[in-house]
Amino acid sequence: MPPAPTTTAESSRAGDFARVLSRRIHEVGPLIGLVLLGIAGTYLNPDFATVDNILNVLTRTAFIGIIAIGMTFVIISGGIDLSVGSMAALIAGSMILLMNAIAESIASPVLVVVIGIVFALVLGALFGLAHGLLITKGRIEPFIVTLGTLGIFRAYLTYFANGGAITLDNEVSDVYSPVYYSSLLGVPIPIWVFLVTALVGGLVLNRTKYGRYVQAIGSNEQVARYAAVEVDRIKIATYVILGICVGVATVLYVPRLGSASPTTGLLWELEAIASVIVGGTALKGGEGRIAGTVIGAILLSVISNILNLTSIISVYLNAAVQGVVIIIVAFMQRSRR
């Protein structure tokens, strides 16, 4: 083999710099946006930059943020899941029904809650497994499969709730509520769970074989198949991971209100997908970052927080402002590939 000749040193160095710079801008773009929002929020209302408010925003971000981390895996692998909001509602409802039912025969409320939590996580994993099997073995578009289950999940919750709300028994609720309301080292539990989920997600995505395979499949599924990657198993696993994330988010959400109704988790799928996209993950798959998703989720809830604290724009227009942000971000990223 001939030795590799060196390319023109100057031109390639200048090119490197430009490339690294443009790569970095895409990575730190959402972070810059978040910082600017923070400055604007502080300027508009002095209450914004208080520790209490920031912890409040992060706690509220946790549900969507955890789901968005799972969604990042699905989207990077080239898939999508529209059902997560309905899935959260159905898991919440089923979990409450189960806990109410066993509370009569099991004396320890703590055990009831533990069983409820395990049940929620297993149910999420099973829903994800069903999605994954229908998509890979059944060869149906992920958009269609999850559009279908979006309807199915919410309809069953409504049916179980008889159109109203499913409410957790008081005794169990008293034991369960600290999962949402209490703090560790001054930081609410949901934020800790969000943080741990993000760290584990980032590690799995960037530093494991599995994460590399997810990116390879999203970049080009056919090439991955020819490179001996077990495409179906990896894809099924992304939906299972997302299902478990939805389970975790629901486990944190239920003690907050202690009930589930047909409006529980409404439009969560949009917020989760938006967080992923705002965070710089390409909707067509192949590349993305967990850190970006976390920032994307926080950015979206900071927007609604600022609208709540100030009176410049009506709170009712929250979704509209978020929509504008999503479109702006997509516009800035459009030339990326």
Binding site: S12, K209, R225
Partner: protein, 497 residues
């Protein structure tokens, strides 16, 4: 009237990178000019500037002594300059007629005049010898027919200078013959033709003169007559390509490493049997569609298959997925580099280690070890890249192929199947790949080479299996391994002995 072109110090920069450094030469009217150069020499960029797909950064060109610069391919077409792309520019879901008139639709009032367009399309198709209905959808055509549609489209726009970029890359020998006859007719009508190809035998046959480019510069222009292929190759590479193929080693007398018997892939291959020994290079010849690629895809579980027995090292092996193949020491490098071979949007490192990723997971991946492996392989395979952090898309065709080879050889397979390993690869890289194949065989591996280039199979392989319509027509070796015999078997015109 025929068109003459003169390039005057054409410079092209992409950002800070200059890819054409002041190219000047003339193309005489009504001639067939071969444009030769290795991948990355700047041929494609130059013809894109000529046909309006790119604009020169500096310098210009004249057409019949008038300076021109085309802002779009449409402007170029208006002057009669048409480029036929390597990858076709056809809308698969539209009909032939709709494609031919795309952007130039004929209308009757507010509505499309399909009748007139179909009639005019039929006329253009007749000139190129395409006999199907103009209402056929392009996706239903075979590759050769799509190419004819491209040419018919060019003719219907009154092309007087036709640039063809690797037109025969996906054609069978008989389709290539048809294209050459057509080129002859076009030339007789005064159309100037610029012909870009890596296949020197074709260039030798079809062109009147040659323009050679290297590293973004014009090297020389010579008449084709009196220039040997050896000289062409030397001019392109800029050094002496003394002999393209390594001397064949004798095959060690050993039991077959891979033995396939009675293997069938429904719709593609029927009752195929062959074996290959360690140290042997076994070729697979046949026309496009003979089922060679599909046979091996079926063998590795990438396609449904039926019946057949596969023995590896004397033991029956069940290969249901490519993963099983890797476990049994078989690697398959696809002919479709961008579609099945490499992740062009991922980095070089991620591509190199993908198949052998187990080795870098403990259980967390070790990027530093991956980077070391990449540095080693870049040196070992002679992959030319500016930056190791680049995406695979930034490499030229030949270097992508070397990376793909490195990727599939990274699992250290005993049996290696290379499907069209030198397709779209320049002369220098081809030679590197041939010597690599020999090295692999010398190391005691069994190498299978599927190729449409007969010269390559003859120069490289110990034995060649010829397939036709999914069946093995014969296995040629020694004195019988000639172009004539290969073609006769591939087309089914050999005498059955």
């Amino acid at each position: 009237m025929s068109l003459a072109v003169e390039f005057r110090s054409v410079v092209k920069r992409f950002g800070p990178v200059e890819v054409l450094h002041g190219v000047s030469f003339r193309i005489e009217p009504g001639r067939v000019v071969g444009l030769l150069g290795e991948n990355g020499a700047g041929k494609s960029t130059l013809v894109k500037i000529l046909s309006g797909y790119e604009q020169a950064t500096g310098g210009d060109f004249t057409i019949n002594s008038t300076p021109h610069s085309f802002a779009s391919s449409r402007e170029a077409e208006h002057e009669g300059v048409v480029l036929i792309h390597q990858e076709f520019n056809l809308a698969e879901h539209l009909t032939i007629a709709e494609n031919i008139f795309l952007g130039h639709e004929r209308v009757k009032g507010w509505l499309l005049d399909d009748e007139a367009m179909n009639a005019a399309a039929r006329e253009a198709m007749q000139q190129v010898g395409l006999t199907v209905s103009p209402a056929t959808r392009v996706r239903d055509l075979i590759v050769a027919e799509k190419q004819l549609v491209e040419i018919a489209k060019a003719l219907s726009r009154n092309a007087r200078l036709l640039v063809m970029d690797e037109p025969t890359a996906t054609l069978t020998p008989s389709e290539t013959e048809r294209l050459f006859a057509l080129i002859g007719q076009l030339k007789a009508r005064g159309v100037t033709i610029v012909y870009i190809s890596h296949k020197l035998d074709e260039v030798e046959r079809i062109t009147d003169e040659l323009v050679i480019m290297r590293d973004g510069s014009f090297v020389t222009a010579v008449p084709t007559r009196g220039t040997s292929r050896q000289q062409m190759a030397n001019l392109m590479v800029g050094r002496d390509v003394s002999d393209m193929y390594p001397v064949k080693d004798p095959v060690p007398n050993a039991a077959p490493l891979l033995k396939v018997s009675g293997f069938s892939v429904p719709g593609w291959a029927e009752d195929v049997s062959f074996d290959v020994r360690p140290g042997e290079i076994l070729g697979f010849a046949g026309l496009v569609g003979a089922g060679r690629t599909e046979l091996f895809e079926g063998l590795l579980g990438l396609r449904p298959r039926r019946a057949g027995r596969v023995e590896i090292d004397g033991h029956e092996a069940v290969l249901d997925t490519p993963r099983d193949g890797v476990r049994h020491g078989i690697a398959y490098l696809s002919e479709d580099r961008k579609g099945k071979g490499l992740h062009v949007t991922l980095g070089l490192r991620e591509n190199l280690t993908l198949v052998a990723l187990d080795r870098y997971a403990h259980p967390l991946l070790d990027p530093a070890a991956e980077r070391r492996a990449l540095r080693d392989k870049v040196a070992e395979f002679g992959i030319r890249t500016g930056d190791l952090e680049n995406r695979a898309a930034s490499l030229s065709g030949g270097n992508q192929q070397k990376l793909a080879l490195a990727k599939f050889l990274h699992v250290d397979p005993k049996i290696i199947v290379l499907d069209e390993p030198t397709r779209g690869v320049d002369v220098g890289a081809k030679r590197d790949i041939y010597f690599l194949v020999q090295r692999l065989a010398r190391e005691g591996r069994a190498v299978i080479v599927i190729s449409s280039e007969l010269v390559e199979l003859i120069g490289l392989c110990h034995r060649v299996v010829v397939m036709r319509a999914g069946r093995v027509q014969g296995t040629l070796a020694g004195d019988r391994l000639t172009e004539e015999e290969l073609i006769a078997h591939a087309t089914g015109t050999h005498d059955h002995r």
